[in-house]
Amino acid sequence: MSGFDKVVHSYEEAMQGLEDGMTVIAGGFGLCGIPENLINQIKKLGVKDLTIVSNNCGVDGFGLGVLLEDKQIKTMIASYVGENKLFEQQMLSGELEVILTPQGTLAEKMRAAGAGIPAFYTATGYGTPIGEGKEVREFNGRKYILEESIKGDFAIVKAWKADRYGNAIYRHTAQNFNPMAATAGKITVMEVEEIVEPGELDPTQVQTPGIYVDRLIQGTFEKRIEKRTVRSA
């Protein structure tokens, strides 16, 4: 079988090598497009002292929230957290360190890591607590702060379809942080709803080229909705 075939057949294999103290970058926004099963596997592994980088930390009992139950997270880097009681408790007790990062800066930090850019300037956060201790520089009369990239030992992402080589496409706004996360892991693990054969996806429409994917697994997903808003037909 081709050296480009990234498919693994168990979640054990998918997350093999994850150890205490590692940094894990996770795709997803809220509960949308999160790598549900890879997160559950991290819980199962019981590894501790993790640094998790993700826009949010799930909810009680679902998504990254499950990693709070056994206090597996030491540091959370996110833009918006606290949709869950456990998170609040552990943060207030000091068991959980939280590094709040503006959403766009977080996305760009992941992209930069994948793109070999160690740091970039952004106006976001200048003059706020987020800018404290960071270099300030003026360009064209405006003040910017220096932000560094953020790389993970592992990146866990959720896509819709991928071919065996790991070329992936995302469904609707379940894309969100996943493509950047995919580029920012030393080991990138992707779970998808469907695996297809190479050649089935239009090369121009591939959103994450397989070069970024180390392990690929097909899973089934609950896809819980956080805020169910509907209108009458």
């Binding site: 926004f29 809220g30 509960l31 949308c32 497009g33 826009n55 996110a78 833009s79 918006y80 957290v81 606290g82 949709e83 609040e88 943060m91 207030l92 709040l100 503006p102 959403q103 766009g104 800066t105 977080l106 996305a107 760009e108 992941m110 992209r111 952004t122 106006a123 976001t124 956060g125 200048y126 003059g127 706020t128 607590p129 987020i130 003040k143 819709w160 469904r171 609707h172 706004t173 379940a174 894309q175 969100n176 942080f177 996943n178 493509p179 950047m180 959103q207 896809k223 819980r224 909705i225 956080e226 805020k227 169910r228 808003t229 509907v230 209108r231 009458s232 037909a233």
Partner: protein, 220 residues
């Protein structure tokens, strides 16, 4: 009388222009979408990666993979595009969104805004607010003029940790429509709510307020 949230949204909506790409913050700002003036079209950007956000889905359309920045299930309009969070904030940070409306706790005469953190209270995070305020060339803050204890939210200097420095130029409150002159370090009273006197606004404005000779009443 103080404006209702709907009236505030209505007034803000009058600033919309045909062809505007618009980002509405979570909460009161979303009401603006209900008052788009006749004859114009705007397109809504949602910072989780959607341009061309449509109304909530019907039961049949409901899809967990299609949400907005408030994590609500939504739909797309014809001509929508969907992209990554990095591309979404490239769009925002690059100043391509024409019009942004956000809530706040405080703004001050230097255009500073505080909207994400109250020390001593649980801090949930800034989400995309810091990116939005730093980037939006055309932003309106929507909030009540004073808090429930009567303390002004339009200050000489923000007391809370900032969301952004020197970035706000217009504020829509339940009493007035106010511009900020960063150079002068002052609010400028542009319009007042029907039946609200200039004196009341002056009394409820903590920072320096310039009152032009003519301050028209808003009409609804």
């Amino acid at each position: 009388m103080t404006l209702s949230r709907e009236q505030m949204a209505m007034r803000v909506a009058r600033e919309l222009k045909d062809g505007y790409y618009v980002n509405l913050g979570i909460g009161i700002p979303t009401l603006v979408a209900n008052y788009i003036p006749e004859g114009i079209e705007v397109m809504f950007q949602s910072e989780n990666g959607l341009l061309g956000m449509g109304p909530f889905p019907t039961e049949e359309q409901l899809d967990a993979d299609l949400i907005n920045a408030g994590k609500e299930t939504v739909t797309t309009i014809n001509g929508a595009s969907i992209f990554s969070s990095a591309d979404s904030f490239a769009m925002i940070r690059g100043g391509h969104v024409d019009f942004t409306v956000l809530g706040a706790f405080e703004v001050d005469v230097k255009g500073n805004i505080a909207s994400w953190m109250i020390p001593g209270k649980l801090v949930k995070g800034m989400g995309g607010a810091m990116d939005l305020v730093a980037a939006a060339p055309n932003i309106i803050v929507m909030m009540t003029h004073a808090d429930k204890y009567g303390n002004s939210k339009l200050l000489e200097q923000c007391s809370l940790p900032l969301t952004g420095a020197g970035c706000i130029k217009r504020v829509m409150t339940d009493l007035a429509f106010v511009e900020i002159d960063h150079e002068q370090g002052a609010f400028i009273l542009k319009e007042r709510a029907p039946g609200i006197s200039v004196d009341e606004i002056v009394g409820k404005t903590g920072g320096k307020l310039i009152v032009p000779d003519n301050v028209p009443e808003m009409e609804f």
